[in-house]
Subunit: 271 residues, 2 copies
Amino acid sequence: MKTRVISSIVIGIILAITLVLGGYVLGGASLIVAQIAYYEIARVLGVFDEDGKTGLLYKVGFVGVLLHYILVIYIHDTKTYLLSVLFVFFAVMVTYVLTFPRYKVHQVIGAVFAFLYAPLMLSFIYLLRIRENGEFLVWMPFVAWVCDSFAYLTGRAFGKHKMTPVLSPHKTIEGGIGGVFFSIVAGVIFGFVMMKVKGVDAGIIPQFMVITLVAGVISQLGDLAASAIKRDRDIKDYGRLIPGHGGIMDRFDSVIFVTPFIYGLVVFIMK
Amino acid sequence: MKTRVISSIVIGIILAITLVLGGYVLGGASLIVAQIAYYEIARVLGVFDEDGKTGLLYKVGFVGVLLHYILVIYIHDTKTYLLSVLFVFFAVMVTYVLTFPRYKVHQVIGAVFAFLYAPLMLSFIYLLRIRENGEFLVWMPFVAWVCDSFAYLTGRAFGKHKMTPVLSPHKTIEGGIGGVFFSIVAGVIFGFVMMKVKGVDAGIIPQFMVITLVAGVISQLGDLAASAIKRDRDIKDYGRLIPGHGGIMDRFDSVIFVTPFIYGLVVFIMK
């Protein structure tokens, strides 16, 4: 537990520096996190070679992730996302065909899915940062961590009814509600800070409440989705990179899920 | 062989009517072909329920395909493609989590992949049709069939060196070159027709040659990719819908692969 808390503080500090600086620092940090997450998911989905080495198929996806972040950082427009998806799809399929029968179809599909899962979704953080008032908006995906923490605390205090008895027996409906409630509270605080610092209209608060309400719900689905894959593949953690937490995917599972929703809602509601 | 030829003629006639009429006719026909292709790939990848019925997970993808074509027909812009991909991804993941442990991770991933494979790629045909001179451009993905046929004929006549001995032992390098050569010839004819009918500049011919050269190569990769999945899953055909051909995927495998490239090159080269 102590290791876990120390890790969280270290991650928090690195994250704060990255989000405040933005630009290439945030772009580079996102790329690194995305590559590690891609590695972890690809490994869990069996994309690697039979001998356990990363192999050609993984490397093709690695190049896809790199290309995607170059497009995001230099063109920073969702228009290029389709290009990245198609690039990964075709590059993976060409690898499959030209090396046949080295890879099985589930590996090929896993490589494409791993790309969509973390690298693609996580890249919306950069797009949030470069928007107007991005220095505030970029923090919003991390409301997922607020939701996680308060779902845990509320669940411990009041939890009675299991949410998903088979998948995550410790999660309760009471905890889930608590998590969403405190996500909305975080939204109010976000809005209040932006009002005070940037002098924006008070209408920002209900907008942020809607965004963080959705984020709170999606956050828990992201957590459950990552758990489902782990249960399915019979592993405990995605990795061992972060002491007390597991891998990047164990810590960023809900943030990753939440990010495209936050971005979509910000574009849709705030403009 | 006779059945196969008759089927080809019937498909050719339906296709011609659809492409000439365009609009809702083409939109509707593309949606139907896309849904059947999605069904066939989903079945082959094991997305269906254990009892062999289509099941909830398949149906979620079905809704995704429908939504995607509504976006393509009414908004007709690649901007919406990312929305469709994210919708399918999240809808499938939510289904996975809420019905856990009904589906396995390979089924979940298969549903997303099946959506990308055929429905998404095929939808570029509609975008080609609504472009300026779309009544000519929309025929170009079918250069894949020219390539297939001439690769077969050239291979029979001159084929000596096997292209992919393990995957498709009957394909030869000579056949592949013949297929690409006649694709380029088709490009010249396309360009010539557009010059004569629409009075466009002769510069269209080298542009079309480049596009059909790429299409000829990609076409064969599409064919091999569909074959690789069939070999992997140990099936002969994707379906039995088209007498003498198999399923929609057996007939459209190369067209599907070629379509996004044609669209991309048309946008990029012809501006």
